[in-house]
Amino acid sequence: MVRKAMISGLSLGLVLLLGLTGCGQSRETPTPSPSPTETLPALAPGTTVIVDICDQNPQHPDCVGLQTPAPSPEWATFTDPLGRFVFLYPAGWYTMTVTPDPSDGVRVMDAPSLQESTRWVSVHVFSNTQRASLPVWVAEHGVGWVGEVIRQEEGYINGVPVLRQRLENKDPNLGGPYTYFLLWYPLEDWILRWTAWPGEQAETLDLLEQMVSTLRKP
């Protein structure tokens, strides 16, 4: 296939001779020399950086509600101690740090202790350094609660893709019965798992959605 048979040593020599003497310029080797990749940034995609459009354009009308939330008589602000996010929760509710392995986070509840509470919403923060999509991350790592996911749907909150799940545990030997409503939310290198209990109670779910919609970076 290669035309090497046609390029005799004599003709190759003549080409080189003419090339060298014809214009007084030296000829480069036919093999192109590598160049630094930084001169072509578009050719080296590297790590994908995915951003929320409201981070770029926070003044857009659709993003106004997403500004760093301010406390009000009805709402208090939770600020993540690691500075990853802030969100609003009902004023007068109590916060409790959740076990930090393999995730960390906070639970907000309507009573000083978990045993006394009739409603709570928690957020657990998991690492997602590959920035996997939510369904893939959840499939790879599991939901992390005992029970069975009986319903799942994808959606958006403030334009950010989220995954909503309803999880049921009917086994008294495994801490049941209970129903949790889960909402998975991607945030940079983390995935937030929001959980609302009781998961079958409409007003708890509304509260969860309200809280998630106030989530912003500080």
């Binding site: 003709s11 080409v15 214009c23 160049s35 072509l40 994908t48 995915i50 893709p161």
Partner: protein, 421 residues
């Protein structure tokens, strides 16, 4: 006869040496073909080269190692490309390089029928350049907004783009000599259009419509068809990723696309075709069978070539990612029978972006291997594989964007008389 032929070549080599610009080499025998195969513009060492697939001649057109995104003009006489972030063209037959813009250019696109180059610069607006004209012609003032994703229709008569101005997002269409008209305006930030192109009959404008969030777009949006004469968009139900090379038109107006949401290109992806008029979808490959990408209709519309790896269970997506990507090879599906055939199977290579020759007798594709990235040509039946370009550099990151490599940044194929480019 052969000796006389070589003296002509020697003289040609001497003449090109005098220019100090062109560099010519031969790599292989001309490929026998009923119709010309055409030419590939590619990037090697950060420079623009041209490989003539009919003669085997390879010509270096730039020498500063700062170039990328080569795109052919309709005539095959010109190549536009980025030199750093500036737009340049080179006249292929002479090697003459011409700077088009002294300021950064964000988008450019050649007309498919004329040597007309549309480009957008934040500081200059939308302009049109033609060979022989000293200055570009202003199409849209920069104050009119920020433009994304230029797309010519297949006749070259109209140019569409996304326009963002003061938070408003529009799809606009422009015909020469007329003012641009708005075809679609986003209502809020949750139904924002991302232009995908035109239907082959130019009756529809294609756009992915969904939230403006880059997170949402990374996981795919539904593809919608907007009547070119105006009207509400009609959208497919399923999501797909926003890659233009995941769409292919048949000559009779069917659209092949890669279905399935989720940014991971090797997971949960299928191959389907849709009839634009009825939006009837025919699933050709289920995600449980293969993970296809980059469909390409044969010129007669009877076959689809595509690259595909094995299906990857979603729960093992990242654990099996490297294996899944490495096993991408070229396949063809016969649309009348549904029968599939694997055309490449060399485990040393990952094969992607199959493109058909004008006569449908050959397929050009890109190979990633340990030694580098190269372009190969084969007969449409999968025989006579041969490398036609040995090096595409800078070597792209094989992971690309979740397994999608933007090959347009490295090569473009000019096929004589091909309507669908």
């Amino acid at each position: 006869m052969r000796r006389r032929h070589w003296w002509l070549l020697l003289i040609l080599a001497w003449l090109t040496a005098c220019r100090g610009v062109l560099e010519v080499r031969f790599e292989r025998e001309p490929a026998p073909s009923a119709s010309p195969l055409g030419k590939v513009a590619y990037i090697a060492g950060g420079d623009v080269w041209v490989a003539d697939l009919d003669t085997g001649q390879q010509t270096r057109l730039t020498r500063d190692g700062r170039n990328g995104h080569p795109q052919w003009s309709a005539s095959g006489e010109w190549i536009a490309y980025y030199k750093d972030d500036k737009l340049w063209v080179v006249w292929v037959s002479t090697g003459q390089e011409i700077p088009i813009s002294e300021v950064p250019v964000q988008e450019f696109a050649w007309s498919p029928t004329e040597d007309q180059l549309a480009y957008f610069s934040l500081s200059l607006g939308l302009l049109m350049w033609e060979p022989g004209r000293r200055d570009s012609k202003m199409i849209l003032d920069p104050k009119e907004g920020f433009i994304n994703h230029l797309a010519w229709d297949f006749t070259g008569g109209r140019l569409a783009w996304e326009c963002e101005n003061g938070g408003e997002r529009h799809l606009q269409v422009f015909s020469m000599g007329k003012a641009a008209t708005t075809l679609f305006t986003a209502e809020g930030m949750n139904r924002v259009p991302r232009l995908a192109g035109w239907s082959i009959d130019d009756q529809w404008l294609l756009a992915w419509i969904g939230p403006a969030s880059a997170l949402a777009q990374a996981d795919g949006l539904p593809l919608c068809l907007i009547p070119a004469t105006g009207g509400p968009p009609r959208c497919l139900e399923q999501k797909m990723l926003l890659y233009a090379d995941w769409l292919s038109w048949s000559p009779v107006g069917q659209l092949a696309f890669i279905s399935g949401g989720g940014r991971e290109t090797w997971v949960n992806k299928g191959l389907a075709i849709v009839d634009p008029a009825s939006l009837t979808v025919r699933q050709l490959i289920d995600p449980a069978e293969q993970a296809p990408i980059q469909p390409a209709f044969s010129p007669d519309g009877k076959y689809l070539a595509y690259s595909a790896g094995p299906p990857t269970p979603v729960e093992a997506a990242y654990a099996q990612r490297d294996t899944a990507l490495a096993q991408r090879h070229i396949h063809v599906i016969d649309l009348s029978s549904g029968q599939r055939r694997q055309l490449t199977n060399d485990d040393h290579f990952r094969d992607e972006r199959p493109l058909w020759s004008y006569d449908g007798r050959h397929i050009l594709f890109v190979r990633l291997g340990e030694q580098g990235t190269s372009l190969w040509l084969m007969d449409a039946g999968g025989s006579h594989l041969r490398p036609v370009v040995s090096e595409l550099t800078p070597k792209p990151d094989p992971m690309g964007e979740y397994g999608h490599v933007n090959w347009q940044a490295l090569w473009d194929w000019w096929r004589p008389s091909l309507k669908i480019r």
